[in-house]
Subunit: 121 residues, 2 copies
Amino acid sequence: MRVTKALSDSQRVRILMMLRGGELCVCRIVEVLALAPSTVSKHLSLLNEADLVEVRKDGRWAYYRLPQGDAMKAVRPVLKWLESALGEDGSVLRDADRLARVLSGAGEGSARRTKACPKEC
Amino acid sequence: MRVTKALSDSQRVRILMMLRGGELCVCRIVEVLALAPSTVSKHLSLLNEADLVEVRKDGRWAYYRLPQGDAMKAVRPVLKWLESALGEDGSVLRDADRLARVLSGAGEGSARRTKACPKEC
DNA sequence: TGCTAATGTCGTCACATAACGAAATGACAG
DNA sequence: CTGTCATTTCGTTATGTGACGACATTAGCA
């Protein structure tokens, strides 16, 4: 039930869909979802408990990603189904858009953020 | 989200698992789950809205079953995954047991209930 | 025509959970 | 060591949801 409960919230599904493109720093997810950091953190920890995401901690930053290796095998069918069920859903598409803008560093003073969160997250 | 929300409750998952063996009358589901009829009815209507079950009304009885035909195609992957994830879960196994006993008409005064709900549901 | 029985609907209550802000944690910079 | 920043944890509040019982509905039967 942990998995289905984790999937029963739309914000968590949005996170999973965003992670299809690769790992993301918490702060970027916060930016895209426009929720309080503490709220996003809670969602991520629920997804983690359900083994739907993995964490990689690097310095002060935490990077979340879809499961890799063996763990991926268990989760793959679910993700595939999610994707087909709502892969082209409105909010998912909008998130992808916003994420692209966030990753390219739009809206900030200078051209920073090459790929990962540092420098300037 | 309707589907994932429908799957996020354990009673509803129990119902889906029970239906793998074929259609069931509401009263039998009530008997196995040991919940109030109104509660079970609500669960069934949620599953129905999520297109995870179909209804067949016959006289005063309502028989629920997993989707057939085209609808089945959309739901199949989900059911397959559910089955592999918790097909041999404790409560699911216990339900199968109780269901078998209910269907065979154990615990009643006489030998009724040949296959469908009438006579004596 | 009424009666009975099986489902479904509605209102209510208790509890789960998503959201926030405040404070704790842990890591790096000085 | 101290300060700062990203993240997490904690406590609170508002809303969502599962459970029940009471009642409405509908189908068959006397």
